[in-house]
Every structure is written in C-alpha cells, then in structure tokens.
Symmetry: C2
Subunit: 245 residues, 2 copies
Amino acid sequence: MTKKQTEKAFLESYDIHDFDVPLTSVDMAIFTVRSEKLQVLLVKRAQHPALGQWALPGGFIDLKLDKTLMDTAKRKLYEKTGVRIPYLEQVETFGSQGRDPRGWSVTISYLALIPSDHITLGKDDSSEQVAWVPVDEAEDQYPLAFDHNRILEACHQRLRSKVQYTSLPVNLLPNEFTLTELQQTFELVLGNTVEKKSFRRRILDADILEATGNMKTGSNRPAKLYRVKPEGQSHFFTRNIEGPR
Amino acid sequence: MTKKQTEKAFLESYDIHDFDVPLTSVDMAIFTVRSEKLQVLLVKRAQHPALGQWALPGGFIDLKLDKTLMDTAKRKLYEKTGVRIPYLEQVETFGSQGRDPRGWSVTISYLALIPSDHITLGKDDSSEQVAWVPVDEAEDQYPLAFDHNRILEACHQRLRSKVQYTSLPVNLLPNEFTLTELQQTFELVLGNTVEKKSFRRRILDADILEATGNMKTGSNRPAKLYRVKPEGQSHFFTRNIEGPR
DNA sequence: GTAATAGTGTCTATAAGACACTATTGA
DNA sequence: TCAATAGTGTCTTATAGACACTATTAC
C-alpha cells in the first residue's frame, strides 16, 4: 500500500477479514417496576458459550438489519418484550481480552426503562427462558454469564444517579399516574424515602406533567391523575434530590 | 452445532471470521489549555481512508498489546503526546453502517485532559502531522474525517457539563497553581465567568486542594499555590456552578 | 363520625450569587 | 503612594428538607 494509491483503490482492496478485530455485541439492562420492586429482564442462554446461564439480553449487531447501534438495541428490546419506544440510553462500553471465552470482545451496554403494563415477554423464536428478576437479587444471587454482573451494576448505578437530578422514573409508569405513585417509583429507584412536599414542589414546579382531568379513586380522597409532557421524559433538575437528612 | 455440544468443542470450532463483525476502533479528544484557550489535539491522517484530512487521534485495538479498551486509549494517548497518566474517561460509542467507508464500524470515544507543560507531540513514528487547535475552531472550521466532528462535540459537551458539578479542570493545570488560575480554567471550559468568592468557597470547602507552601509572585500581592489531593482529581459537588444570574 | 390517603403552609437549612470591602506585593 | 491582583465579610436568593396542618373520599 503506497500513499499514492487512491482512496477508491484502497477501499476496493480492503478486506476486514485481513485484520484481527474483536467480537462486538450489544447488551442491555431492561428495567421495570413490578410488585413494588425495581426488576430487570434476564434471559437463560440457549447457546454456547455460557449455555444455561442467566444473562442480560443482547446479541450481535446485524450488519444488514441494523443501521446504527441504537437500532441493534431497539431490535433486541422488541424481540424480548414487544416494546418499541421505551426510554433507551447508552451506558458504557466494556471491551477486553478475557470477558468472552471466544476472544477479545467489546459490548456496548444500554439501559432501557419500560412500564410494566403491555409487555409480552419472549416474542422472538429463540425459545430462551426469559424472566423478570428484582435487581437486588440479580446482583447478589445470580451469577450472570460473562461480565454481565458488572454491566448490570453499571446500568443500575447510572439509573440511580440520574434519578437524583432527572425525571427518568416517569418512563417506568403507565400513561396515567398519581403523584404518589410517581414518588413511590422514585423511592424504589433511589433506595430511600423522599419528603412528600419537597417532591411535589419539585415535580410540579418543573412543569413536566399535565393533569389528564381524571382521578384515581379508592377508599379515600381521590388523587389527580397526570401524564408526562413530551419534554418531561428526560427533564434535568438544577439540583439533586438529597433524601432524608 | 447442536445444543448437546460441549462448550469446549464449541469454542474449538468457533472462528470469528465466520461472522460479519464491524470494524472497531478507539478515538479520543485530548484537551489541554494553551494560550488561554481550550484546545484539542488533531492529527492529519497519513493513510486511507480520508487521507490528508484532520481527525481525532485514534486507531484500532491491538489484540495482542491491549488487554482492555482503556489500554488502547492509553496507548494512543502516549503515542501522540508522551503523557502516561492523564484524566481519561469513556464518553460514547458511535456505531453505524455509514460512518466509515470501509463498512459497518464502531468507535469508542474517550476524553482526556492533560496539563500543557511537558507534552512531546508526535512521539510515535507515524510521521503524521499533529496539532493543537482551539476547540471552537476545530468544531466550526475544520471538516474532520469520518464523523469526528460529532464525536468531538460529544466529548466537548460531556466536559462542559461535568465541569458544572465536578473538579475536572484541575487535570488541565500543572502540579502547582493558584486559585485564580483554577478559576480561569473553569471559566474557559464553562464559557462564562464565575464569581470569585463563590468559586473559592466551593473549592476550599470541598477540601480537594492542599497548599504547597509556595507562593506565586508578580508585581502585586503574591498568591498561594496549591496542589490537588489525590481524591480531588474527580470530586463531585452536590450542586452545580450556576454562573451569573 | 373514623380511617385513609391527597394535598398544603410555612419554617429551617444549605450552598450559590452579588458586591463591596480589606490585604499585600512591586515599582 | 498607586496599580494590580489576592483574598474576605456578609447580604440576598434559590431550592431542598421537616413537619404539622387541612381536604376529600368510602364506609
């Protein structure tokens, strides 16, 4: 190869298989709230390597189907849950010699938040076992395949820290919800209680919700129902929730 | 391949070249402060594709030399600047069909901060042209190779937003510096002025610096010189710098 | 009425911004 | 003494936490 070669000639003679490249995949931590717990979706691997072990859903980029990495992530999410437009955020890319027994590999991790209603688990044909597992259990009691425990922790950590200064938990709730339900969701993710008045002031002052006009009734005072305004899915507050002093 | 196959047999028969994988590289935005401007390191590409165009330094993972992605980033940084232990942070991974003419490719971007003293540009033998360019110029007036303008913007944006709530700019200064110099560095990165008293209160209350005992003299009152405590390289404040009201 | 949960009034605490002030040097 | 920059005192502002209080429903 000389420097005089044209770019066209260079590209024609270029073959990616001439070079050693790492295996590249996408893995994701899909979170939802079920039974008043923050849960994460796990799949039992139906292929080697790590056959039979629990893992985060993920897989290889389909160079034909996927135009971008985000497409790969969206495709995987849809295959596993039937959900098409969740909150989806890239977290961290893990790459090393030893993380996969097949050799040098890189995985781009994504964090997804979905409401627990209207999920159809395991839409795809992979016949893998799919399960929602409380995040704490997944972290402490499940030895996940590859370095997936570490990836899950990175995603969980990202979520926890962003909840301190963003409105992300709105993405874990159905279309209509009460402020109390929203507060409980924040508390679940944060892992501590938040003060009611402070919380409502913060949310309402941010102007990210609108009243639907409906009320949630029970055996007590009915609560106003709200929906998220479009810009409210990912609102940034100027200060953190601090939690109890 | 059957499911009864052992993992060992699977791995023995596995050949990465049987699959289509994307090209995978690492690119980095190396920032420093020179001539009272935030500058970024660019290299003029000495190979196809995009030969002769300015680009962010980067390159392929060396599957033999590098054990992790961070190793690739550190190696590239050392080759270009001679600096070994800077502030280094992974920013975002860009992957798509069209970002490189050679085909589907993925690049993991890193952000590095280095002090401008003791840099030896272009230590490696690539005989590429290497230059410091003010970030604003690089963004507005340099058509960088591939999608490097977008990558630079992502790294610059990450830096700007983290400066609001971290101590990162200490990594852009030499070992000893005055509070005024630190403040000026914050201002350069933030793109606005900050109030002197608030700034000093914030930094000193965080307890991330220690006085060296030396003073910087000039034709005026001497200023105390400080160095960063080890934990001060990446301190998180609980609130943002807000800037002028 | 009571139990239960929704929603508010208002005080304190924390850390930032504003800005005028004092301090210490060289020339 | 003056110019220049270092460094401080202290008031105001913004937003969070604490916590007691009122409001509205089903029964």
